[in-house]
């Protein structure tokens, strides 16, 4: 988190002066374009699925819900602000830019004099992104260990990582095709995991409350019968 904040805030400070936020106008004028764009961005905004491995092992404390929602909203705000700055700088030529995080700060007026220190901030961001890429893999190992009730995590790690490594080695040359396939064809998979599945988890609460109620009713009945028995003896 500190690495992310240093790099993100630093890059944004260097970038904002060059930004023309009026390039974002008119917002939502092309409604059909926005609607078409939403499914295409599903795979980039599916972080809610990362909460799923915490199911059943997280002990809720008072106020945790607010904190989680706030941190999630902050994450969204960071992303939206970066996109606004990025589009405000490049406007119509935004789609032609590669490595977006490295692009926005390079127009800072002092850089030609003091050197490209924005690259260091970009490097910090790359480390953060590296860990961000590792988190789903790490969590999937924990998830599998939970499912199979095993403590042999190194073995599970190999089971997950070796196919991933092979996939990376064999398919890296088809990057654009795979990106197209995931972005355009498999877009519906992502909301299943990051929207539908967390919502379905609410059903677990329902089941729990039913159990609780039935337990509550059973104990009342037991209390009543014992009281009747005591009365009868008396």
């Amino acid at each position: 988190m500190p690495l992310f904040l240093v790099s993100y805030v630093g890059l944004m400070i260097l970038s904002v002066a060059e930004t023309d936020f009026s390039d974002l106008l008119p917002i939502f004028s092309d409604k059909s374009g926005v609607l078409k764009g939403i499914p295409l961005s599903f795979n980039y905004f599916s972080d809610a699925a990362l909460f799923l491995p915490l199911l059943g092992s997280y002990r809720y404390k008072q106020g945790d819900g607010k904190k989680i929602m706030l941190s999630y909203a902050l994450g969204g705000a960071f992303v939206l602000f970066f996109l606004a700055v990025f589009y405000g700088i490049f406007g119509v030529i935004s789609p032609a830019q590669k490595n977006a995080f490295m692009q926005t700060a390079k127009y800072f007026s002092a850089l030609p004099v003091i050197g490209r220190f924005d690259l260091l901030l970009g490097y910090l961001m790359t480390i953060v992104l590296l860990f961000a890429a590792c988190v789903p893999i790490q969590l999937s190992v924990s998830c599998l260990a939970e499912v199979f009730q095993t403590e042999r995590k190194p073995l599970l790690s190999i089971v997950i990582n070796v196919p991933l490594l092979l996939f990376t080695c064999l398919c890296s040359r088809y990057y654009s095709k795979i990106e197209f396939f995931i972005e355009r064809r498999l877009f519906f998979i992502f909301p299943l995991f990051h929207l539908l599945l967390p919502l379905l988890a609410l059903l677990l609460l329902l089941k729990q409350s039913k159990k609780g109620k039935s337990r509550g009713q059973g104990s009342d009945e037991r209390k009543n019968t014992s009281q009747n028995k005591e009365a009868h003896h008396a």
Partner: protein
């Protein structure tokens, strides 16, 4: 899930530190053998000319050399041809064995012939190259770009560095040059207006050659005076613009005519093709409306006498609107804070010590600048160049009219210019 203990946390931090250190080492150590410096050509500037269907690319390549124990940068120009710019760059490798690297390329010059057709035929290569910085200066020139890069200047041994000084941010703040980067020009081209502008680089003979003996101080004084006029924002297109500290009157290299660069004129583009030219005065007026200027100089004639004003700063606002009668309006408002720099005649002590500027002089300056801005707009309108980004403003701020007005927005636009000069104190 197992309990997350303090030892786990410590180990995780250790792993992160080790990983970060390893990555840092890899990052700063070397280039992993990807680039051999002996075979790499560091391209500092590129000139592109067009001959029928072929592009003639002149790459200025830096060569580090040692003379008298001191490192001194030099450059060579390599020419190559190709049906595309990329093909021409490949020819450089075939001719020299060097691999051209564009990471340090800060200037692209488009020759006169290259801008008679779509300039983006040539620029496409640079937009696609992810190692090339799109903040590099972009300029066009009179004649061929090859000649511009081959120019000998007293400013620097490498002509592109001398040219970059003329196109610098400092010159832009003085209003002497309307600079444009690859990014800005591309944004204009791909936007609704399909318009843009580029400074016109010219190599000009020095107006006064310094004499080597006799009247030494006088000659130097003249040369310095000539240059400093331009440093402070002269709008005379015939005058070269030099970087401060460079005008020492030294002719520099031997053999061949030594020239200096100027870029006070501006080329207008529509759909990638050059369609018009702004003079030096018009360029200054355009800069006043578009950029934040600092300590710029402005010449005004009043009562038959020449005065020069120092424009300390200018606040400008361009407002586009469509009124209830569906009339599109563009209102340019400029508030300039200015003082008197000098006059072309001797003044009394009282006049010199007075900090204020006579109101009629300001009125005259306001009238002149207003006429110049209207002139710039009419010139750009005549050649369909959307210099004030009206089409974009239509899309952004009056989007509901965009479909109906987009085609002929420049023809139907009503321009209002409001200029006010205020005294420094």
């Amino acid at each position: 899930m197992r309990k997350y203990t303090a030892s786990h946390a410590r180990n995780a931090v250790r792993y992160y530190i080790i990983l970060a250190a390893t990555l840092l080492f890899l990052f700063f150590s070397n280039d992993f053998g990807l680039a051999d410096i002996q075979k790499t050509a560091i391209v500092m500037a590129v000139g592109i000319d067009r001959e029928e269907d072929e592009f003639l690319v002149t790459a200025q390549i830096a060569i580090p050399s040692k003379q008298n124990g001191q490192g001194q940068a030099q450059a060579v120009q390599i020419e190559s041809r190709g049906e595309t710019v990329s093909l021409a760059f490949c020819q450089i490798n075939a001719k020299t064995g060097w691999y051209p690297k564009l990471v340090f390329c800060n200037l692209i010059v488009l020759g006169e012939e290259a801008v008679k057709q779509n300039a983006f035929d040539a620029l496409d290569f640079f937009l696609r190259d992810e190692y090339m910085s799109d903040s590099c200066f972009l300029a066009t020139c009179e004649g061929s770009a090859k000649d511009i890069l081959n120019t000998q200047t007293p400013i620097d041994q490498i002509s592109s560095i001398a040219a970059q000084k003329v196109l610098s941010e400092h010159a832009q703040r003085l209003g002497t040059v309307a600079t444009s980067s690859l990014k800005d020009f591309s944004k204009g081209y791909f936007s609704a207006g399909k318009s843009g502008y580029l400074p016109i680089l010219k190599a000009e003979s020095q107006q006064e050659t310094p004499e080597t003996n006799g009247e030494e101080s006088g000659t130097q004084g003249t040369a310095q005076g000539t240059f400093s006029q331009n440093i402070f924002g002269d709008q005379n297109p015939a005058m070269p613009v030099l970087a401060s500290g460079a005008a020492d009157g030294n002719t520099g290299t031997s053999g061949g005519e030594v020239k200096v660069f100027s870029a006070s004129e501006t080329a207008l583009f529509y759909d990638g093709v050059k369609v018009g030219t702004l003079s030096g005065d018009e360029t200054f007026a355009f800069c006043m409306a578009k950029d934040s200027l600092r300590l710029a100089a402005y010449s005004v004639k009043y009562n038959g006498e020449q005065y020069r004003l120092t424009i300390k700063k200018n606040k400008r606002k361009i407002h586009f609107s469509i009124d209830d009668n569906a009339v599109s309006n563009l209102r340019i408002t400029i508030r300039a804070t200015a003082g008197l720099r000098d006059a072309a005649f001797s003044q009394t002590v009282e006049e010199i010590s007075s900090s204020g500027v006579p109101a009629p002089l300001f009125m005259s300056a306001e009238e002149k600048l207003k006429e110049q801005i209207i002139g710039v707009f009419e010139k750009s309108r005549a050649c369909k160049c959307d210099l004030f980004e009206v089409s974009e403003r239509l899309q952004k701020f009056e989007n509901k009219y965009a479909a109906a007005f987009q085609e002929d927005i420049l023809e139907r636009l009503r321009l209002t210019v409001d200029v006010q000069f205020e005294s420094l104190r």
